[in-house]
């Protein structure tokens, strides 16, 4: 049997279960909307300011860095499987790749993009 069939059955079962949970929250609770309840929660203060402010650029930097290192990790997986067959040559090939990326990490670190997170 195709191994993805159990995966799909698993997905379907999870979706079903989540549907049951969502049904529970819809069906069993009381419904008493009021204007004060619907305000955004600010520990008792009346809501102030818009819901969206400007955000520091370091969150974007983190997301970009995550993306680039995730791609690197993805390249590491086939190498790791073949690690023993590729031997020393494989280590040198991957070593070059890793050096490039460690160099990149060092540069990012030196420039202070990882500060004040």
């Amino acid at each position: 049997m195709n191994p993805y069939v159990p995966v799909l059955i698993s997905f379907a079962a999870a979706v079903l279960l989540i549907g049951v949970f969502l049904f529970f929250c819809h069906a069993f609770g009381p419904k008493a909307p009021s204007p004060i309840k619907s305000d955004p929660f600010e520990c008792g203060n009346p809501p102030s300011g818009p819901a969206h402010d400007r955000f520091a650029v370091r969150f974007y930097i983190v997301a970009m860095l995550f993306l680039l290192f995730d791609i690197e990790v993805v390249f590491l997986y086939p190498w790791a499987i073949l690690f023993r067959e590729l031997g020393g040559l494989g280590i040198m090939e991957m070593g070059f790749f890793l050096t490039l990326l460690v160099g990149g990490l060092a540069y990012v670190w030196w420039r202070g993009a990882l500060e004040w997170e």
């Binding site: 993306l67 499987i81 090939e93 490039l100 990326l101 540069y107």
Partner: protein
């Protein structure tokens, strides 16, 4: 037979969500439609027995690139596109581009018309792939064998992107700090 059904379901899903990307008004809905579309494409890769690429597609494309997109949309608070009030703009341009696009698609279909069938394997039979150690191992053998140079070039590309990210993002703060140093 089941491969056909799977193909049509996945392809339909990918197309519908891709249409959703361009047709909905809310940018977050647009981004999520793209995530769904990418997951269906990953399913198509799995149908082609390219399991490693399917997993990587979900992890990197839907799980990293689209997270970046979602971040940007959330943090920039791009509002909903307002409903159109007058006649649509740019009809001549749209017609030309649409015609060129349709011509391109027609050309591609004409070129492959003899080979159109439901894709099930991308080259080797699944039993042979399993014999040779599995899909990921074969990808690795290709990546560190004939395709070593593209792999290393990809590493250089990633390095360029790393440096570029920091240079672009830090430009303002460097300019601000040098300006403040000059003023003080």
């Amino acid at each position: 037979m089941s491969a056909q059904i799977a193909f049509y379901v996945l392809a339909l899903g990918a197309l519908v969500s891709a249409l959703g990307v361009v047709l909905v008004r809310n940018p977050i809905t647009s981004a999520l439609n793209l995530v769904v579309s990418l997951c269906f494409v990953a399913g198509l890769y799995a149908l082609l027995e390219a399991h490693f690429v399917a997993a990587v597609q979900v992890t990197v494309y839907a799980g990293a690139i689209m997270v970046l997109f979602t971040f940007v949309i959330m943090l920039l608070d791009l509002g909903t596109v307002p409903a159109r009030t007058g006649p649509p703009e740019g009809i001549p341009k749209a017609t030309i581009m649409g015609a060129l696009g349709a011509a391109f698609v027609g050309l591609v279909i004409h070129a492959v018309r003899g080979d159109i069938r439901v894709p099930t394997t991308a080259g080797m039979a699944p039993e042979r792939v399993a014999e040779l150690g599995g899909n990921s191992r074969l990808v690795g053998e290709l990546l560190f064998g004939p395709y070593l140079l593209p792999f290393e070039v990809a590493g250089v590309l990633l390095l360029v992107a790393l440096v570029g990210t920091v240079v672009m993002a830090k430009r303002d703060s460097v300019a601000k700090s040098t300006a403040s140093r000059r003023n003080s």
